[in-house]
Amino acid sequence: MTNWNVILSIAKTHLLTKIKQTSVAALGVTFGIGSYITLVCFMTGLNTMLDDLILNQTPHIHVYNEIEPSKNQPVSLYDDFNESFNVVHSIKPKLSQLKIHNALPIIDYLERNENVRGALPQVQTQIFYIAGSIEIGGNLIGINPIDEAKLFNIEDYIVKGSAEALQTTDNGILLGIGVAEKMSLKVGDRVQISPINGDIFPLKIVGFYQSGVADLDAIQSFTNIKTVQRILGEAKNYITDINVKLYDIEEAVSLAKTIEQQFKLKAVDIKTANAQFDTGTTIRNLITYAVSITLLIVAGFGIYNILNMLIYEKMNDIAILKATGFSGKDVQLIFMSQAMIIGFVGGVLGLVLGFGLTSLIGTIPFKTEALPTVETYPVNRDPLFFIIGFLFAIFSTFLAGYLPSKKAKKIDPIKIIRGQ
């Protein structure tokens, strides 16, 4: 039989007559929650951006043919030397093709796998960019531009032009920005390229590519698969690499293994290729949470302190309430509601503060060579963070209010009445 109206009106009067302390306690929560939200949104925004930098353009599994020595040298096939100790000097890599044998059926097969979002063929080759008498070494990668944009966000790194322009332009090239700078080329110009032992091909520049990695941008360019195949004089089934994107990145390791075993190809999964990367993300998250939780704990102690003080000041009121028929539970609820009101108001203001600060951060210009498409600081305003922040405000004020209110519940009115 709890009469909430009375309890809340008493709590309200207590809070309003001690508005200064109440505000300080609520502001503690506000700053705690506000900075938690700001920190988490900002840090995860940065994390996602950095993740994207690597993950978006990196295939989850990269399949190719590696040039390596044969595991079984011919001598081991010869039964007579079976029992003896063989030493083979100067092992040379096996002469094998860069081409993936049966690449197109393999792609079909992979795309039918339900974990696979897409498998895209590429043709990579070494070429020279020719400017007058100078030859600059480089890589040319043949791609399906539209598919590549869909799965690997290549558009994010195209600073001029578009994937579509590359797709639709015959003999078009998306030139690495470093190459363009070295050779003073503009979009629309022609650049001459030549494969290692072949003719010279003029290609039309449809755009510039900037990955953010200067060394890469100084050598690497993209064109249509057909164009590379034509330059190399190879057939339509000449594919050197297959890039696989999965729905769930966690599947990468096992699928890569399967591909290696099944097709006798090299398949590198993203986890192995970027092992250090995960660690960085984990540590950044750890720091974010450690700092936020510290802030919230400090806010919690503030509330605990202020409620303790309040209860100390309100000993008389507690005694009167109990003497006139309020139960210990009623008194506890009165002080719990004060804590919860502080938590609620402080929490809501904290959400507003967090929203405001993240909005502000989101407008601060952030220009970097490494991230051509990023204009302002990245913030990841996931509603989940706001929900967590608010729940934490409620939870921590509940904890902070619980002990003092328990004390208020237990106060013996007789002791106080006698003490007067």
């Binding site: 039989m1 009469n3 109206n5 009375v6 009106s9 008493i10 009067t13 207590h14 007559t17 008389n316 009121d317 005694a319 009167i320 309430l321 109990k322 003497a323 006139t324 028929g325 309020f326 139960s327 210990g328 539970k329 009623d330 009115p413 007789i414 009445i417 006698r418 007067q420």
Partner: protein, 224 residues
């Protein structure tokens, strides 16, 4: 006449600092409409007895009956309810919630009881304040009125739920003789006109002599 409050073989000990038998086999009754006073030397156990009778203290031996119901050993929340509905308490010091207005102080026990709507409770509270001639104070803060007025407000609060019995622990002990006389007259009037049962601890001989019955206490026992 029906019995409002009955104490049977009440014994109480304080264990700290040394074991001390403070109340020794207390037996008495308060009948409906009776105005009884308790007298006795300081330290003889009057307040201790009153705290037990008011159900705030549960650490005693013996039985306590309120309106012929045994209340000894009841749950704490039920005791709170009984205290709220059936017992009005007036202390020596003016125990009011200083941050609340006078009328809010008076209304609080009724709001807790929750048997009436707020407008009804407010109406009742104004009635009680009128009866005690302090209606004009109703909107003031409890901390802004004089001592005699505070005690009258405390009486109005004790009356708000029309309790079975009003207890007072030296309610005039802290007032000048004019105000003390005034408070006594109010009690007398409540007893005579409203048939209220009262049990009041006092040191004032004249005061006690005008009540229906004097309970003399000495050394933890009832003497007369």
């Amino acid at each position: 006449m029906s019995v409002v409050l009955e104490a049977k073989h009440i014994n109480k000990y304080f264990k700290k600092p040394v074991s001390f038998h403070v109340l020794k086999d207390i037996n008495f009754q308060i009948k409906k409409g009776e105005f009884a006073s308790i007298m006795g030397k300081s330290g003889c156990g009057k307040s201790t007895l009153l705290y037990i009778l008011s159900t705030m203290d549960t650490d005693y031996e013996g039985q306590l009956y309120l309106n012929n119901q045994l209340i000894t050993g009841q749950e704490r929340t039920h005791l709170s309810y009984l205290r709220n509905k059936h017992i009005g308490f007036v202390f020596q010091f003016h125990y009011l919630l200083s941050e609340f207005s006078v009328i809010e102080n008076v209304m609080l026990p009724a709001k807790k009881l929750g048997e009436k709507s707020y407008p009804e409770i407010e109406h009742d509270a104004i009635e009680k304040l009128k009866m005690l001639n302090i209606e004009h104070l109703s909107k003031k803060r409890a901390s802004q009125v004089s001592g005699g007025e505070k005690q009258r407000i405390a009486i109005a609060r004790a009356l708000i739920n029309n309790p079975s019995v009003i207890m007072g622990d030296e309610p005039t002990g802290n007032l000048d003789s004019y105000n003390a006389q005034n408070i006594f007259n109010i009690f007398k009037q409540l007893s005579d006109e409203k048939g209220l049962s009262l049990l009041v601890v006092t040191h004032d001989e004249d005061f006690a002599n005008k009540t229906d019955r004097i309970i003399q206490m000495g050394d933890g026992k009832i003497l007369v």
